[in-house]
Each structure stands twice: as structure tokens, then as C-alpha cells.
């Protein structure tokens, strides 16, 4: 068996055997259920609290539910994904497990790539499950069914996570310890936030995909190409930089 596959299988198993999958799944699923429920009942809660006119100001469109949901996943789900992925390589370096593995006929790029792919696989599983749960909640609450535009919307938002995972792998490769790696990974996350807030610059950044995933719900795919390309470009760049830096490191 190809040693990429051997190592990938080990990584996939490790995800299940340790706490990683549980945390990721819990956060994503909680958002899937809580986000639409809270949004649905928020006007009623505001009415009960006696704030006059507050409930009417709520936009109860499908796009608003998705905006709320993506916002929550961005703020907690992706952050969890980043922190978990930030530990991927650096923990192996610190624990000494990387040394024993790397002296067993596996190259450093294979080591990093197998790790990244395994994290992406589990992220994909978690993302699909949580998206399905969210879509089910939307159906129950506002009777909106899933269609090709909602699938496209999910797909675009998913890509941001793929990029964050690559950024976190990069952070994990260059960090000397887990704290440094997590800080670098958090730095990548914050940088995306900051770039998204800068006028004119933001339309060239991967963060724009968040807006694109909302407009896609109504079948509007304008201004998609550049953020899509920058997102893919950043993903590849993070991976290449991570691998190059790991190759040069003394273990």
C-alpha cells in the first residue's frame, strides 16, 4: 500500500480516536440547529420582552437565515477547525512522533499533505452533516426546500473552510510550539476578517465568498470568479509554504 494512503488512514483513525471529531461535529451541529431556531424565534422573544417595533425590523427571508447561519459557522465552526488543524503538525513535532514516522520511508511533503487531506475529509463530513441538518431545520421552520442554488451556496462557503484549514496547516508547519501555531492560525483568520472590511480590497479577497454564498441563494453568481480564484490560490500557497518550511526544518 502506498505510504501516503497508510499515513492518511492513520490520520483518519486518529481523528475519531481523539477528541477532534467530537469537538468539530458538536460545534458545527449546534450551529446548524441553534442558528435557525434562534433566528426564527427572535422576533417573538423581542415581542415578549416588550420592545415596541423591534420584531418588525427583522428580515425573515431565506437569505437572512443563511446569513445568520454562515456568520455563526464562521465565528465558531471555522475557528474550531483552525485551532484543531493548527495542532496537526506541531504536536507531532513536539511529541516526537513526527521523527519516528519520517524515518519510515515517508517524505515530509507526503506527511503534510496526508494530514491536510485527512482534516479536509473530516471537515467535509462534518460540513455535509451540519449543512443537511441546517437545510432540514429550514424546511421545518419556513418550509423552504433545498435546491441547486442552496447547494451552490453551501459549496462556496465550504471553500472558505478549505482555505482556513490550509492556513492552519501552514501555521502548524512553521510554529515551534502549539501556542505559536495557534496564534499564527488565528492571525490568518483575523487577516481575512480585516481584508473583508477594507473597501475596494475586499472584493479581491477570499472573504468575499461569504457574500457570494448569500447572493448565490437567489441564483446571482456575479463577482464570483476573483474571490474563488484567490481562495483556491491562498489554499495552494498556504500548503506550498507549509511544506517548504517543514522540509527545511530541523527536527
Amino acid at each position: 500500500m502506498n505510504n501516503f494512503i497508510v499515513f492518511l488512514k492513520k490520520e483518519l483513525k486518529e481523528f475519531v480516536k481523539t477528541w477532534k471529531l467530537l469537538i468539530l461535529l458538536a460545534l458545527f451541529i449546534v450551529n446548524s440547529f441553534m442558528s435557525p431556531i434562534l433566528y426564527y424565534y427572535m422576533p417573538k422573544l423581542l415581542e415578549l420582552s416588550g420592545l415596541p417595533g423591534a420584531a418588525e425590523q427583522f428580515d425573515m427571508s431565506l437569505a437572512s437565515y443563511y446569513t445568520q447561519y454562515y456568520g455563526n459557522q464562521f465565528q465558531s465552526g471555522f475557528l474550531a477547525l483552525i485551532f484543531i488543524t493548527c495542532l496537526a503538525v506541531v504536536r507531532e513535532k513536539k511529541k516526537g512522533t513526527a521523527i519516528l514516522t519520517l524515518t519510515k520511508n515517508i517524505s515530509r511533503p507526503t506527511f503534510v499533505l496526508a494530514k491536510y487531506i485527512s482534516y479536509v475529509i473530516w471537515y467535509t463530513v462534518v460540513y455535509v452533516v451540519s449543512s443537511a441538518a441546517f437545510a432540514a431545520m429550514i424546511k421545518v421552520l419556513i418550509n423552504e426546500s433545498i435546491n441547486k442554488h442552496t447547494i451552490a451556496s453551501f459549496g462556496l462557503f465550504y471553500l472558505i473552510g478549505i482555505m482556513f484549514a490550509a492556513g492552519a496547516i501552514f501555521a502548524s508547519c512553521i510554529g515551534k510550539n502549539t501556542i505559536v501555531s495557534c496564534l499564527i492560525g488565528f492571525g490568518v483568520y483575523i487577516a481575512v476578517f480585516i481584508l473583508a472590511a477594507i473597501p475596494y480590497v475586499n472584493k479581491f479577497t477570499p472573504a468575499m465568498l461569504l457574500d457570494n454564498s448569500i447572493t448565490a441563494l437567489s441564483g446571482n453568481y456575479e463577482n464570483l470568479l476573483i474571490p474563488l480564484l484567490t481562495c483556491i490560490g491562498c489554499t495552494v500557497l498556504f500548503l506550498v509554504l507549509g511544506i517548504v518550511s517543514f522540509e527545511k526544518q530541523e527536527l
Partner: protein, 309 residues
């Protein structure tokens, strides 16, 4: 001659600190080499450089004729045990060895046989506990087992006997002895007796500098010294004359007398000393009450080499 390990003028600096200073070593295939030196001598750094895990500042290293390059550790086919081995602690020992075997592209049957053999040899057979529940000694034994799983032709072991009880130590050094002539083993240790027992070559390093690189037999023969402790009975003046006489003998390096009256002699030839000293005692009208000879071992040579300042 093709060497299993060849280190040519290797220097490694960490900032201003020179961890290894112009090291040159050649080990023929099948050699069992003990690498001794105090903490910070540069042993671990040298072994890591041989594995390609760290890059030398200058010089070249070859393993089995292949030039060692950083990041190419996988190509060396070397069994390696680091000073503190780290494992995926959610696995059992058997699962870990299977994983290592698969990474080394061994076939299923070989992995199964070799795993069973190594687990048996290192007392881990039948242990179903996950590695996270292992003692340090068990982890060390598993570390050695993983170094040997692929039947490597060169094995580098960094402190293989640390954390082991006497039974574990014996198992490891019996195994190393069994590899003699077939596999090249370089292991670092603080335990000189282990080196004397299994090695045919010894490297003594101190502060990054190689002080001794020789075969064990040659070293002990060349630097052989025998400590004789004896007590004699008789006139004090006669004893003093005997001491003076002994000081002038060419086979005696030094003579001293301690507070308890015991005469301590460092002899270069224990056989000659054993024949002549009793005769001299008799000539001085003294009675020999006690005569004890200790041959200087590698340990004292090591201490002399490293305690120069």
C-alpha cells in the same frame, strides 16, 4: 572499503555554541559502536545529523554510501531510536509496529512475523493496553522494536538503555550482540559497562570534540593500568625503603601510601608486578598481608578523557 557510516569533518553550531566540532568517524559494516560522553557532548546532535533530521553547519555524512541530506531521512533505511521516542498513544504496540511496517512497504506476512518476534523479544507480547498506558521502560522497548522492524542494515540508538530495568537492558544488549557482524549499530549511552560488554568500537566525545575513536581491545590494551592495593607488616623504615625501591621500577607508574598504611601501586604490567613485588617484600624482611589487583576499566579511561579541565 565501503563504510556503513562515514562522517567527514562535520561541525554543527547552534548560534554561538559549537555542538559538534570537526568530527570525522568511519565505521565499517557490521560494527557495534558505543558512543559515550557526558551530557551535552554532542552525541544526540551527531546521531540526528546522521539521520538527516538536522543539517550540519559544515562537513558531510554518509550512511551506506548515501550522502545524508536534511529532509531525506526516509531514504537511508536506518533504524532509529531517538532519546525520547514519541508514539501515537491511542494505538497498541502491535498496531504501532504494523503501522511502521506498512510505511516501510513490508508485505503483510513479514509485518505479522516481525511484529510477533519483536513483541516477544521485548516483553510486549500479549499487552493489549494502549501506548498511553505504558511505563517509560515499555515505551523504550517499543522504541527499539520500531527501529528494528524493517530489518535495517544500520541502526542508530540514542540512549537505548535509559529508563530500562536490568532485565530490559539485558534484552537490548543481548539483541545488539546478536546483530554483531550483520548490522552496524551505533548507540549512545552513559553506561560504560554496556559498551565494554557489546561493542567492538568506542567513540568518546566531550564538548563536541571526539576524544577517542578506537577499538575497545586496542584501547584497554594500550592504556592498561592495574591498581594494586597491598598491606605489609614489618619495620616502618623497611616499608619506606620498599616504597622507594618500587618507585624506581619501570613497570610501576606510581606508588603511594594512605593513612591506613595501605600501599597503592599503579602498575603497567600486572604479571611482572605479581612476580617481583612479593620477592621485594621478602628482601626487605616484610610480611605480605594483603594483595589486591584491579585492572583499570574503560570507565576510568572515560573519566580521565572527559575530566581534563
Amino acid at each position: 572499503m565501503e563504510y556503513a557510516i562515514e562522517i567527514n569533518n562535520v561541525t554543527k553550531k547552534f548560534g554561538d555554541v559549537t555542538a559538534v566540532d570537526n568530527l570525522s568517524v568511519k565505521l565499517p559494516k557490521g560494527t557495534i559502536c558505543g558512543f559515550v560522553g557526558p551530557n551535552g557532548a554532542g552525541k544526540t546532535t551527531t546521531i540526528k545529523m546522521l539521520m538527516g533530521l538536522i543539517k550540519p553547519t559544515s562537513g558531510e555524512l554518509f550512511v551506506n554510501g548515501v550522502k545524508v541530506k536534511s529532509g531525506l531521512e526516509r531514504k537511508l533505511h536506518v533504524g532509529y531510536l531517538p532519546d525520547v521516542p514519541g508514539f501515537y498513544d491511542w494505538m497498541t504496540a502491535e498496531q504501532y509496529l504494523h503501522f511502521c511496517g506498512k510505511l516501510l512497504q513490508m508485505d503483510k506476512e513479514d509485518i505479522r512475523k516481525r511484529t510477533a518476534e519483536l513483541l516477544e523479544r521485548f516483553g510486549l507480547s500479549g499487552v493489549k493496553t494502549k501506548i498511553k498506558g505504558y511505563s517509560r521502560g515499555m515505551k523504550q522497548r517499543l522504541g527499539i522494536a520500531q527501529a528494528l522492524i524493517g530489518d535495517p542494515s544500520v541502526v542508530l540508538l540514542d540512549e537505548p538503555a535509559s529508563a530500562l530495568d536490568p532485565i530490559g537492558r539485558k534484552a537490548i544488549f543481548d539483541l545488539i550482540l546478536s546483530l554483531k557482524g550483520k548490522v552496524t549499530v551505533l548507540f549512545s549511552t552513559h553506561i560504560i559497562a554496556d559498551v565494554e560488554r557489546v561493542c567492538d568500537t568506542v567513540l568518546i566525545m566531550d564538548k563536541g570534540v571526539l576524544k577517542v575513536n578506537t577499538e575497545i581491545n586496542e584501547l584497554t590494551a594500550k592504556q592498561a593500568e592495574h591498581i594494586i592495593n597491598m598491606s605489609v607488616k614489618g619495620e616502618d623504615e623497611s616499608i619506606n625503603t620498599l616504597v622507594s625501591t618500587l618507585e624506581n621500577k619501570e613497570y610501576i607508574k606510581s606508588v603511594g601510601r594512605n593513612q591506613n598504611g595501605i600501599i597503592q601501586i599503579v602498575a603497567l604490567d600486572d604479571m611482572l608486578a605479581g612476580r617481583e613485588i612479593p620477592a621485594l617484600i621478602n628482601e626487605h624482611s616484610l610480611a605480605l598481608m594483603n594483595y589486591n589487583v584491579q585492572t583499570r576499566r574503560l570507565e576510568s579511561i572515560f573519566l580521565e578523557v572527559v575530566s581534563h579541565e
